[in-house]
């Protein structure tokens, strides 16, 4: 079995809030191997986004206390927080939830993309870095890529911005992508395109994906393995078909049954379907 890209053991995240110490993540463990997509699915407040942020070390020091271990290869970023700088962008990259607020509004797309390229390859001259930036935009199927370099974030639609963000994430040549609800803020019609792009990239580069979502449809489409999260813990884990077709935990069943199913229209107004 291939070496794990990410190995999380007993991750615990406690948040010091106005209402006291809240245990947002209560001891979760999972692994992601090369070319795998692992999904953490749960409702709002289940702790799934907090898990993703904790893995990347993006929770503020004065708010969150982390325990357990989060290993990228040999490096445990909880034991050695200083190692995060080397890991961020290079080993693992983030694809954020809301593309409209994920980029600096007063800098051009090109500026931010080229900066990401040069962070990874500081030896590149400006023109070469720009060429690489255009390459990346083409990779994520952004039309008229050279033009887009000079545009500002507010000039692009949500779907386009998300592609740009994926390009920026890829600029670091990471082995793992953490996708924090990447399609939640997008129209349904655009979602499929983004998910398709992620799958395509995974096939061609063997990159691993940690997908965070509340949407069962998304999970089914992209995952190899799935963890169902609730109140900070995993209540069920397994291969996606196994969990979805034969859920063993009560909560998983409730989650699955919450998806409305269309049935035939009735003359007297009662619609069939609903609970499975």
């Amino acid at each position: 079995m291939s070496a794990a890209l990410l190995d999380v053991v007993d991750l615990q995240v406690e948040l010091i809030t106005a209402g006291g110490v809240v245990r947002a993540v209560d001891g979760v463990s999972f692994t992601i191997g090369e070319g795998e997509t692992v999904t953490v699915i749960g409702e709002s407040g289940s702790g799934k986004s907090t898990t993703a942020m904790a893995v990347l070390g993006l929770l503020p020091d004065d708010l969150a206390v982390l325990s357990g271990s989060v290993r990228f290869g040999d490096t445990d970023v909880i034991a050695e927080p200083g190692a995060l700088r080397a890991v961020r962008g290079r080993t693992v990259s983030l694809i954020p939830q809301d593309p409209m607020t994920a980029l600096s509004p007063v800098h051009t797309i090109g500026r931010q993309l080229v900066e990401a390229v040069r962070l990874r390859r500081p030896e590149l001259a400006k023109r070469d870095a720009e060429a690489r930036a255009v390459e990346l935009l083409d990779l994520v199927h952004v039309p008229r890529s050279t033009e887009q370099l000079g545009r500002y974030p507010h000039q692009l639609s949500g779907g386009m911005l998300q592609r740009v963000l994926i390009a920026i994430a890829l600029a670091g040549e990471p082995r793992l992508l953490v996708a924090d609800e990447p399609t939640s803020a997008l129209d349904v019609t655009v979602q499929a395109g983004i998910l398709g792009l992620l799958l395509e990239l995974q096939e061609s580069t063997g990159i691993g994906i940690l997908m965070i979502t509340h949407d069962l449809g998304v999970a089914r489409l992209v995952s190899d393995r799935i963890h169902v999260m609730r109140d900070g813990r995993f209540v069920e884990s397994g291969d996606v078909e196994a969990v979805v077709d034969h859920p063993s935990h009560e909560y998983t069943r409730k989650l699955l049954s919450a998806v409305p199913v269309l049935g035939p229209w009735d003359e007297d107004g009662t619609a069939a379907g609903g609970d499975r």
């Binding site: 961020r88 007063v106 500002y152 507010h154 000039q155």
Partner: protein, 311 residues
């Protein structure tokens, strides 16, 4: 762009017009005879009548108002009673001094409050930042005339490093500009702090951090650039209120600008001079405001390039 420009220009002209008309009305409403003020206590009735005729004070109020408006358009704002020369010229002679003082104060303000605000934002809610917070609150709580007198006493009298008054040398600019700057520094540094704090916790900054951008670049390239827009606009907008402080400071330091001029004009009931001063200062303040409003699209790409590009 062009229709917006005309609209703003029209608004500015209207504002100045309203201001100067209000001054005109106020002066006419007051008790006291301007002719008597001009002529002095030893004037005879004939003298007063002659003066009234010369200044048009014997005409109806409406006629006076129309003459007054005509005068503005032709650049003739009457003759100053106390200086015995055209009021507009008297004001324009002293305007450069006030502008120098204002510009110096803005420069000092920017140089101090930006680093201070950034420092405060990066250490938000720590003990040291709380101390700095209290210092800025103190800065905006000191009456400007009092801090002026204190600075004057310490640096010009007790330790005679700087000149006490007037503008004989460039050194004379230091204390007055510093005094005006104290309040502005307090206010602008707090603005910088809150804008920086907002940007340092913004989603785009977290995302930038996630791809390994250095802390230094996060603060100075991303947060600072985003914060600079509201700060620059605030600096421009504060110009008018800064002129208030300038009036008092000019009196304390006997600075030969427009502020000390208007105080003297009020004491001597020199109405043409008062009107001229108000007109010029209002025009100046309104112009600065207009320039700031027009500069805004240049700074902020979201305003400059509104439309979404379909892709």
């Amino acid at each position: 762009m062009a229709p917006y420009l005309f609209k703003r220009l029209g608004q500015s002209v209207l504002t100045v017009f309203l201001t100067i008309s209000t001054v005109f009305v106020l002066i006419r409403m007051a008790s006291g005879d301007p002719a008597a003020a001009y002529a002095g206590p030893l004037a005879t009735t004939e003298d007063l009548a002659k003066i009234r005729a010369a200044f048009g004070l014997d005409r109806s109020v409406v006629e006076q108002y129309l003459l007054f408006l005509k005068g503005i358009l032709t650049g003739d704002l009457g003759t100053s009673y106390s200086f015995r020369s055209p009021a507009l010229d008297v004001v324009l002679d002293r305007l450069p001094f006030t502008i120098t003082l204002a510009v110096a104060a803005i420069l000092i303000t920017t140089l101090v409050s930006v680093p201070l605000g950034v420092w405060m934002a990066r250490r938000a809610d720590t003990g040291r930042e709380l101390g700095a917070n209290v210092v800025t609150i103190a800065g905006q709580s000191m009456p400007d005339f009092w801090s002026g007198i204190m600075l004057l006493t310490v640096f010009a009298v007790l330790i005679p490093v700087l000149p006490a008054s007037g503008f004989a040398t460039w050194g004379g600019l230091v204390l007055p500009a510093l005094t005006v700057a104290i309040l502005q520094i307090a206010l602008i540094s707090r603005l910088v702090r809150s804008e920086m704090a907002k940007n340092l916790t913004a989603p785009y900054l977290t995302v930038a951090r996630s791809r390994g951008v250095s802390e230094r670049a996060l603060v100075w390239r991303y947060a600072m650039t985003n914060s600079s827009i509201p700060v620059v606009t605030a600096l421009g907008t504060r110009f008018a209120s800064m002129l208030n402080g300038v009036v008092v400071v000019e009196v304390v330091f006997a600075w030969p600008g427009v502020g000390s001029l208007v105080v003297r004009a009020l004491e001597t009931r020199d109405y043409p001079l008062i009107q001229a001063t108000v007109l010029v200062t209002a025009a100046l303040a309104v112009t600065v405001q207009l320039l700031v409003d027009l500069a805004y699209p240049l700074l902020d790409p979201r305003v400059r390039l509104g439309k979404k590009v379909s892709a």
